[in-house]
Symmetry: C2
Subunit: 304 residues, 2 copies
């Protein structure tokens, strides 16, 4: 089914204990689109870049069937740029540079073909842009999934809560879930977030896996234990893209399908962290994905 | 099948953000024995206490079928005492008091009835005492499981490695696995520990679950998401007791049985943390255990 993806398409510069990049393609919607295109045939992207952007990446998305009619290319302007440095544990990072550039006044224009998508993925962006996107749809989607981050909780909590009230699924990391809810125990945090609107809450714990809550129902999916985490940037976005991409591919929104969708999301995220940026995810073949899914099944299957 | 348990039986005094206890029953072998007795009918305890110990707790172990012939009660001496204070996150703690008392010169005497056990659980104790215990057995057990902690790595690494070389299964937490192996990634840490001897390595990650490694095979079991963790003391010991108790109850040592055993261990650990000390674990009924096992199954079951 059709999946509308909105989020940043940008440049990153990343430093980890393993090395350092120049400007490479990053951004939430880049990872989401790559992940989803591995599972779902019909994806549409709404985003904005400057004239400096890597057009080969856009061409690659098109080859994967991602419709980029909704991608604005602003002449005379520069793409959003983020630079960060990861600490030794790879779980925490410092932001070195944030240049909003084209994102500063992004007005998300939804192409006519994409005003009635079956599924919507609101990647991390300002809550105002996420809300505008929803308001411009002419029909209620089957499922709206939203990702966000602590930055928006710090500077735009009222707007953020307004969007959260309108979505079906919120994906958020553990620290952000605690910040948003004021609850330390994740089970209580999820309950508090349910009360804000979303019927489904997914709490991402990085290398410690992810929890899917639908009120009293809980499902847990681990992260695949890896020998090296090379660059965690985009892992959460890839996870979200795999999750919603799987659901769109089967056209389902029930709890059982969401459990399987989380396994797909975790599986694809395990590829994303193997190299800098989008490189590893962009190289995933269907065979490699199936092999890793089989590895996942062995990791969690038990006759209890 | 018969399971020989060795470890501390002691007094603890615990402070958490939720409250504070006086002297209560603690010690690795106390939690292990309680957990195992819920699953396996034939358990024997080798330990030492002072004349100050709570004899009602020993009577309770006896009522549960734990043979305490191997429990030495030292007249005129005091039981091992540990006091600690947990930080707000409940993952880290400070030791306030350690009084070795009877543990200082503990000579583990194995009753004749227990010199040929089918299974052995070496709970956390000095490596020297763990080694002496193994040396005093007159027949090689089907499976020897060992737990330890960073304290012994700091002060007795050569002796610790000597015991590790002789056991089948090592249970250890994530930070300790890193310290023991010098590897950060847990998959690499497990491989390094395999090379020290144990064919099976279980890395406990507290609220983030546990990983079971047998060379290239990996299984992951989450911890049950709880609304409150009241007191984490003994959770790892309970986990180990549930793990080895389940294996002894079915008389199996294969990988599939170990996966199920880890689910039992995680399930019982989820009870242990609900109240101070052994109180919650001691009150678990077979029905409550079955209900929680069912909850666990829902947490991890997926048609991937």
């Amino acid at each position: 089914m059709s999946l509308l993806i909105i989020g940043s398409v940008a440049f990153d510069a990343i430093e980890t204990p393993f090395g350092k990049t120049g400007k490479i393609v990053g951004g939430a919607a880049s990872f989401i689109s790559l992940a989803s295109s591995l599972l779902n045939p019909k994806n549409g992207l709404v985003a904005v870049v400057g004239e400096d952007f890597d057009m080969e990446f856009i061409a690659e998305l098109n080859r994967r069937g991602v419709d980029t009619q909704g991608l604005q290319i602003k002449q005379g302007e520069k793409s959003f740029f983020w630079s960060g440095k990861y600490h030794l544990d790879m779980n925490s990072r410092d932001t070195l540079v944030t240049e909003l550039n084209v994102l500063g006044d992004f007005d998300p224009i939804i192409p006519d073909d994409w005003k009635e998508p079956d599924f919507v993925m609101l990647g991390n962006l300002s809550p105002q842009v996420q809300l505008t996107t929803l308001n411009r749809l002419t029909q209620k989607p089957k499922l709206v999934v939203m990702d966000t981050m602590n930055f928006w909780m710090d500077i735009a909590m009222p707007e953020l809560k307004e969007v959260i009230a309108k979505v079906d699924v919120l994906t958020i990391n553990d620290e952000e879930a605690r910040q948003l809810s004021g609850e330390y125990a994740l089970k209580k945090a999820a309950r508090a977030i349910h009360a804000m609107g979303p019927h489904t809450v997914i709490i991402k714990k990085g290398e410690h896996g992810a929890l899917l809550f639908q009120h009293e129902e809980v499902f847990f999916c681990p992260a695949l234990p890896l020998e090296e985490v090379f660059d965690p940037t985009g892992a959460g976005d890839t996870f979200a893209g795999g999750f919603v991409g799987y659901l769109a591919s089967v056209g389902r929104t029930d709890f059982e399908a969401m459990k399987t969708a989380i396994v797909y999301g975790s599986c694809l995220a395990s590829f994303a962290v193997e190299k800098f940026g989008t490189e590893s995810l962009a190289a995933v073949s269907p065979e490699a994905m199936q092999a890793r899914l089989a590895e996942f099944k062995r990791l969690i299957a038990v006759e209890a």
